[in-house]
């Protein structure tokens, strides 16, 4: 039992790291992507090959996975981030699939569609949690800085942003590169958790999952993305026995959230003490109001 719980928390941490990366790009910089599974794939395979073939220690291997994903994201980003709206989304879809196809066909290096087995299980619970905590704090720092404001400016109104002196192209590419790093690390950790990677693990369904988690949690909220990742990971794990229905329920959740609460769980708010206090005080104020009005009527 303990091993099972530890496994779920580890998977949770891995998903949270990827969610943070996508949150920065889609939530804070406002660019909708359907191709970030590709960066996870790059991170996963890099770490797998480095640890398996070249006996590199897993920590530098994971970081290299993140770095290579970041470099690829940066290079891809420069020409493609000129695209706007749905054009970028579909281009990102194409790019994510292209990465997966290249991995699938480059059999000499990646062992192709059959997958890459035998990876050392280096992602223990402590490892995953340490990476999560460090990267979550780093993301929080990024967002609460000039760069955070720059990303949000590009999201809210890129014309106004450029007229306030922001080189919007530069910030968009930077945001993509950082989110690529996060997804790369997440993929590298996933490789060490499953001891096995396969291109089909990083297909469009995975990219969709990444972005759904962020939307579900709230675009523009770090705590929202973490909460969203947690809830959706737990839900999919709970429904594993009836896995046929798992995806159906997942799709229904997505539909219901978007129809009834499109801003997601947290909206753009962060889960701070203030926020929790406000929720409770709003409830208290409502009940006080009721009491007062009945008193007035009585007198």
């Amino acid at each position: 039992m303990q091993g099972y719980v530890a496994g779920i928390i580890t998977l949770l941490a891995i998903n949270c790291i990827a969610a943070l990366g996508v949150s920065l790009f889609t939530g804070f910089t406002g660019i909708f992507t359907l191709g970030h599974a590709g960066y996870m794939a790059i991170g996963a395979y890099t770490a797998a090959i480095l640890t398996f073939k070249y006996s590199v220690h897993f920590i530098p291997a994971i970081i290299c996975g993140g770095l290579l994903a970041m470099i690829v994201a940066y290079l891809i980003g420069i020409p493609t981030l000129k695209l706007v709206g749905d054009y970028y989304t579909i281009a990102s879809l194409g790019l994510g699939e292209a990465i997966r196809l290249i991995i699938e066909n480059w059999e000499s290096v990646t062992r192709g569609a059959r997958g890459f087995p035998g990876i050392a299980p280096y992602t223990s619970l402590p490892v995953a949690l340490v990476f999560l905590i460090i990267m979550a704090v780093a993301m929080f720092f990024i967002v609460n800085s000039s760069y955070g404001r720059a990303f949000k400016a590009c999201r809210d109104d890129y014309v106004a942003a450029s007229l306030l002196g922001f080189n919007t192209a530069h910030y968009r590419v930077l945001s993509l590169a950082v989110s690529g790093f996060y997804c790369g690390v997440s993929g590298a950790l996933l490789a060490g958790f499953m001891s096995f990677v396969q291109p089909v693990m990083f297909d469009m369904a995975k990219s969709t999952e990444l972005v759904s988690v962020v939307v579900f949690g709230g675009l523009g909220s770090i705590s929202g993305s973490l909460i969203g990742a947690t809830i959706l990971t737990l839900v999919t794990e709970l429904f594993r026995p009836i896995s046929q229905y798992r995806m159906l329920i997942y799709g229904l959740v997505l539909v219901f959230v978007m129809v009834f609460r499109p801003e997601g769980i947290m909206g753009t708010n962060e889960l701070t003490l203030n926020y929790i206090k406000n929720i409770f005080s709003a409830k208290k104020k409502a009940s006080e109001f009721d009491r007062r009005t009945t008193d007035d009527c009585a007198s």
Partner: protein, 254 residues
């Protein structure tokens, strides 16, 4: 008197539509100039050309003697030109303070590594950015609403916020695009005072597009009038008020 901004025979066409035709103007440092003309005269297009939102089809734009035709928008802004917009463009989801800080931070830049670790100059610069922004908000009377979401401000205060945000870029040239649009006469009076104050206190050169004639005539010693993309008159308020071309443009011919 130094010439801060000069347009030399600037033209802009969109396909077949000639939006700006052979437009020339000179702005001397410290001037408060009005730019008037009927709707569609090309006034906002001139702003867009100066700030490189559009490329010039013909002619040259010189800022402090340097040709800025080929520069990108953010480069023009970093040279010291700021603007406000005909249709407000605030960051509506962010707070009032954040809007101003987004501009103020251009003068206090630190690196990404310092941002991700909150080390180095992060603390000192963030404090400076916040202090400067709060000062500016106090100047325009918005300090008590610093943490309010910008979208929830009353319209007149949103316009003020946009001006404050532009000012926190510490520009030398400020382009105001219909800042009094939609305001009643009392709000316009207050805006007059604000514009004249910042003109003096921050040593700004201001080019002001407006339709509120009383405002323009009151605060602008120098006025340029456009119609159909070209300059049709230029001079003092008295000169403009009685200029036949201006009257024809606004009131039509007899």
């Amino acid at each position: 008197m130094t010439v801060l901004l000069e347009l030399k025979g600037v033209s802009k066409s969109f396909g077949g539509v000639q939006a700006v035709e052979n437009m020339s103007l000179k702005l001397e440092k410290g001037e408060l100039t009005g730019l008037i003309g009927p709707n569609g005269a090309g006034k906002t297009t001139v702003f867009n050309l100066i700030t490189a939102v559009y490329d010039v089809t013909k002619g040259d734009i010189e800022y402090k003697g340097i040709n800025i035709n080929k520069l990108k928008t953010y480069q023009v802004v970093s040279l010291g030109i700021a603007r406000t917009f005909q249709n407000l463009r605030l960051f509506s989801g962010s707070s009032v303070l954040e809007n101003v800080m987004s501009a103020a931070q251009q003068s206090h830049k630190y690196s990404f590594c310092e941002a991700i670790t909150h080390l180095g100059r992060w603390n000192k610069f963030e404090k400076k950015i916040q202090d400067e922004s709060m000062q500016l908000l106090e100047r325009v009377g918005l300090a008590d609403r610093a943490h309010q979401r910008a979208a929830t401000l009353p319209y007149g205060l949103q316009r003020r916020l946009e001006i404050a945000r532009a000012c926190s870029l510490r520009p030398e040239l400020l382009l105001l695009d219909e800042p009094a649009a939609g305001m009643n006469s009392e709000e316009v009076e207050q805006l007059n005072i604000l514009i004249q104050d910042i003109h003096k206190d921050y040593n700004l050169t201001i080019l002001l597009i407006e339709h509120h004639m009383d405002m323009v005539m009151e605060i602008c010693p120098h006025i340029i009038c456009m119609n159909f993309g070209a300059k049709i008159a230029e001079g003092s308020p008295e000169c403009i008020q009685s200029h036949p071309e201006v009257l024809k443009a606004y009131l039509g011919e007899e």
